[in-house]
């Protein structure tokens, strides 16, 4: 149960990270009509963070799996 709660903490931290990254004010930083690597910046940023979150969730969840 102790490890479980460490995982909970990780996930909550991940949630807060995702929330901060994908909301204003951080979001507005990337709200530019310019292009990065051929992709509009905003979209590139959102999809990039999105993918990153998915990977991090997977990592966090795998550690739950190994403990239980």
């Amino acid at each position: 149960m102790a490890l479980d709660s460490l995982c909970n903490k990780r996930l909550i931290a991940l949630f807060l990270l995702g929330y901060m990254l994908l909301n204003n004010p951080l979001l507005s930083l990337f709200n530019q009509p310019s292009m990065v690597w051929g992709i509009p910046m905003f979209f590139g940023y959102v999809f990039g963070v999105w993918l990153l979150l998915i990977i991090l969730i997977r990592l966090a969840v795998n550690s739950v799996a190994s403990s239980s």
């Binding site: 009509p33 910046m41 979150l53 998915i54 969840v61 799996a65």
Partner: protein, 908 residues
């Protein structure tokens, strides 16, 4: 252009295939070999979140406001990170309490409240109806577009068509029929609809494939890849605008509001709750779903922007509804098959949503609205119905048909005025009203029924006022001044600018106020209201669900008497005779009781019946029904909390008990061992004491009885007596010494001494012994022996003991004993060597143990207490030294004592 017949044929084939999968899934489930017990199927079933809104509406939204469409997918992704914390708790609670819907969950949490269940059911239906109408609109429009392309048939106002000509009507009927067929064949609602889940998983795959197909077509066929498409867009200012979110302050709040809304919707929408919670097979699937589901959402959104841009490039300025881009683009280029695939994908998305949503709603309505109403209307007298199970199923079918019909009516009245997305968000906002009651309820024990009720009703009313009522003005049902000036000219009550709040779009505005008032009322009223006994218990069991074992029975809650007969007939009315019998027999078997015997039911049985009923009619109604046959004793809150606390504490203390038991066991074993040793000791010592005493007594008697014995003989007798007395004294001293050493109470007298002198004295003291047996004793001591610190008497005793042992084991007349001392490396080693019988290896291990003696073969019983070497060992140990033996049978023995010379390290 595709003919209507082909479209219809393909659609029916597809729906038929879905149905076949559902049927197969149910059959496998009945056989016990589930096909849906996989985390991938679970994840795909969650994708019912993506409806025609996703399929058609995202592109429309992208065209109108750029990246804003992404917000409702970011929300679920963020919620997925909390999945383990929030969802798992909901899953666990729902499993234990046999929850079948959101209404059930909330009702159960707040003391199995019938009122709350009803309110939640009503809000759910009214909130979801617009969403259903959205799906109907999407299917109808796409169907018409596909079949009438390129004529502008879609410009027809639906409201003016008679509904026999209205495609949407037939679509609605079809969907309703399918929902009925899919979901409601058996009365139990917590029995999973495995077939349904399988079908939904398949249609999620179809959705994704179809959208990917159109995306790839647009990107790589119509253009030369993403980079080309985006650079095209870069050169058009109207498209470039769509690269970014609107810059105004209000718009940034909208993004956040949509993210929050969708975070709540992914859990609280009836269809999501159904799929994620009720249909969940294994809690562990949650782990995979937490990252796979966001991945699905990401995948289905990758091509939205390219399609939006391509559509703008193709149709820009022609006044084409952007919601239809996905369908129009392949049609324009003559890719009819692809268009058909897209249509099937969109239809897939819509039908999945309608089926699951209406099934969830029908459960809620039948269990939480219809049943309670009927129970409270005495005129209907349910007693007349002998088989309520079938009747319940009929009620659910009716509800499904009615819900779809309502959706159709709403569609005809208002839906065509709004883009798909706006309608959907209104539904999200309705589902969000459950958040304080539900999410608050699982983390805060203080949330009361009154609080939940107030919050829900208040939030719902605000939702109605700010988000639904205004749509009536556009449909002409309410005057426009209502929006512009507020009701009765009250400016601060304007539906879009309540209390003067400006700068938010209508959705954010409505969500803000409704949730604020909802949460405020929930918390405020909860803090000021009391909870009933049942409420408190339920609250504890929900919030602390992880502290209870998986199998906790809340059997202690019922305290009253009921006749088994009454309970059985109650069950039969809802489950049918056969199933009721089955269930009760299973219970009786588990409890090893003969069901026919007792007339009154024990609390465990009553609870079990309640559980079985919950599966059919929900917890609130089940409670009412069971209460009607149980004469309940009222009992105070202390008793209940005691019971609940007890259960929890029992589990905690049982762990400690186990530990304590293990400790006690070990201690007991040790005691027994010591006991045995004590017995051994007593028997040995008493024997040893008795022998000399007997001898002394005999001799004394002889001397008394024969006073004429000669002086010489008398002298001999007295000599023996003195020897025996000395022996006795030695024995007693040994025992006392041993005991003192063991207890650490030995009074050591440490002085500086010369070990050589000790040895010589010992030899002198034992001279008698080896002279008697005619043994030869030699001593080899170095000239200079350093002094050591030690207790003279005790060291003497050690040497005496060693010498006497050597004497014992030597053959008379042939034995030789040699004592030597060596000084080396700051250690004095004294060895006592004899050429006697030797000691076997097994015996060598034992001789230093107390009360252990070995008998030299053929020498009769060993004499002494068996303590000599044990004491010697302890004395030597006290001096910081060691004693050891080297021997083999028939090869003599060498005992070696080593003592350190070092003053500081020696004595302890």
């Amino acid at each position: 252009m595709l003919s209507t017949e082909i479209i219809l044929f393909v659609s029916l084939c597809y729906l038929g295939a879905l149905f076949a999968i559902a049927y197969y899934g149910d059959k496998r489930a009945d056989a016990g070999r589930s096909i849906i017990s996989s985390p991938y199927v679970y994840t795909l079933s969650l994708a019912v979140y993506c409806t025609a809104w996703t399929f058609y509406g995202s592109v429309g939204r992208a065209v109108r406001s750029g990246p804003e469409f992404l917000a409702i997918y970011i929300g679920p992704t963020l919620m997925a990170t909390l999945g383990w914390v929030v969802m798992r708790k909901i899953l666990r609670i729902s499993r234990i309490h046999r929850i079948a819907s959101i209404a059930d969950f909330i009702a159960s949490r707040y003391g199995k409240s019938v009122a709350l269940g009803g309110v939640v059911a009503v809000i759910a239906v009214l909130g979801v109806v617009p969403y259903i109408s959205l799906q109907l609109k999407a299917i109808s429009i796409s169907f018409l577009l596909l079949s009438h392309y390129p004529e502008g048939a879609v410009a027809v106002r639906f409201g003016s068509l008679s509904f026999f000509k209205d495609t949407a009507f037939y679509v609605a009927v079809l969907l309703a029929v399918f929902a009925v067929l899919f979901g409601t064949r058996k009365p139990e609602v917590t029995e999973r609809h495995e077939g349904l889940v399988a079908a939904i998983a398949l249609e999620s795959v179809v959705k994704l494939v179809a959208f990917m197909a159109i995306g790839l077509f647009v990107t790589y066929e119509l253009h030369d890849g993403m980079a080309d498409l985006f650079s095209h867009a870069d050169h058009r200012p109207d498209l470039r605008d769509l690269f970014t979110l609107e810059m105004s302050a209000g718009a940034s709040v909208d993004w956040t509001a949509h993210v929050l809304l969708s975070m709540l919707a992914i859990v609280l929408l009836p269809r999501q709750f159904q799929m994620a919670v009720v249909e969940n097979v294994d809690e562990a699937h949650l782990k995979k779903a937490m990252w796979l589901f966001p991945l699905y959402l990401l995948a289905i959104n990758v091509f939205v922007l390219p399609v939006a841009f391509a559509g703008m490039i193709q149709f820009g300025g022609q006044g084409v509804d952007a919601d239809t881009f996905v369908l129009r683009l392949p049609l324009v280029y003559g890719w009819n098959t692809l268009a058909l695939l897209v249509f099937v994908g969109g239809m897939s998305a819509a039908t999945g949503m309608v089926i699951v949503e209406t099934i969830a709603l029908s459960t809620m309505i039948s269990n939480n609205l219809v049943m309670p109403m009927l129970l409270h209307i005495p005129t209907l007298r349910l007693g007349r119905h002998s088989d309520l199970g079938a009747w319940l199923v009929a009620v659910r079918h009716a509800v499904i048909l009615m819900t779809v019909l309502l959706g159709y009516i709403y569609f005809r009245q208002t839906a065509e005025y709004y883009p798909l997305v706006a309608i959907g968000l209104v539904s999200f906002a309705a589902a969000a009203q459950f958040a304080p009651a539900l999410l608050g309820g699982i983390f805060w024990k203080g949330g009361t029924k009154a609080g939940a009720l107030s919050g829900l009703i208040a939030g719902f009313l605000v939702w109605l006022y700010t988000l639904v009522l205004p749509t009536m003005t556009d449909a002409g049902l309410l005057p426009l001044e209502f929006i512009r000036e507020g009701p009765f000219g009250l400016h601060w009550l304007r539906p879009f600018h309540l209390f003067g709040l400006t700068g938010l779009d209508t959705i954010s505005h409505g969500v803000f106020w409704s949730l604020l008032i909802n949460t405020g009322a929930y918390i405020g009223v909860s803090l000021f209201s009391e909870q009933s006994v049942l409420e408190k218990t339920q609250a504890t069991m929900f919030v602390d669900v992880f502290h209870f074992s998986q199998k906790v029975e809340n059997s202690a809650i019922w305290r009253g008497t009921a006749r088994v007969q009454d309970l059985t007939s109650l069950l039969e009315r809802f489950l049918g005779k056969a199933r009721a019998q089955e269930a009760l027999d299973a219970y009786a078997q588990k409890r090893h009781m003969d069901r026919n015997q007792p007339l009154t039911a024990d609390p465990g049985f009553v609870t079990h019946v309640e559980k079985l009923l919950t599966e059919v009619i929900g917890s609130a109604s089940a409670r009412v029904m069971v209460a009607s046959v149980v004469t309940e004793e009222s009992f105070g809150i202390e008793a209940v909390m005691d019971i609940v606390d007890e259960t929890r504490q029992v589990i905690v203390y049982s762990h400690e008990l186990e530990k304590a038991t293990a400790d006690l066991k070990a201690a007991n074993e040790r005691l027994q061992e010591l006991d045995r040793l004590k017995d051994e000791f007593i028997s040995t010592v008493t024997h040893e004491l008795r022998t000399p005493l007997t001898a002394i007594q005999s001799i004394a008697e002889i001397l008394r009885d024969y006073p004429d014995t000669g002086k010489k003989e008398q002298g001999e007798f007295l000599e023996i007596m003195i020897n025996e007395i000395q022996r006795l004294a030695r024995l007693i001293n040994q025992v006392l010494d041993f005991q003192k050493i063991e207890a650490g109470q030995m009074a050591w007298q440490v002085t500086a001494l010369d070990l050589g002198r000790v040895i010589r004295h010992a030899v002198t003291a034992t001279r008698q012994l080896f002279v008697e047996k005619n043994l030869q004793l030699t001593v080899a001591l170095p000239e200079q022996v350093p002094q050591i610190s030690g207790d003279w008497d005790q060291l003497m005793q050690v040497m005496v003991n060693l010498i006497s042992n050597a004497v014992k084991f030597c053959d008379p007349h042939a034995g030789r004993i040699h004592i030597a001392m060596v000084h080396q490396d700051n250690i004095l080693a004294v060895s006592v060597k004899d050429n006697g019988v030797g000691i076997s290896e097994e015996a060598q291990a034992l001789i230093f143990q107390p009360f252990t003696q070995i008998s030299p073969a053929g020498r009769g019983r060993p004499q002494g207490s068996g303590l000599g070497l044990a004491i010697a060992k302890r004395i030597v140990a006290f001096h910081g030294g060691a004693i050891s033996v080297q021997s083999a049978p028939e090869q003599g023995t060498v005992f070696t004592v080593t003592l350190p010379v070092d003053r500081t390290g020696g004595i302890q």
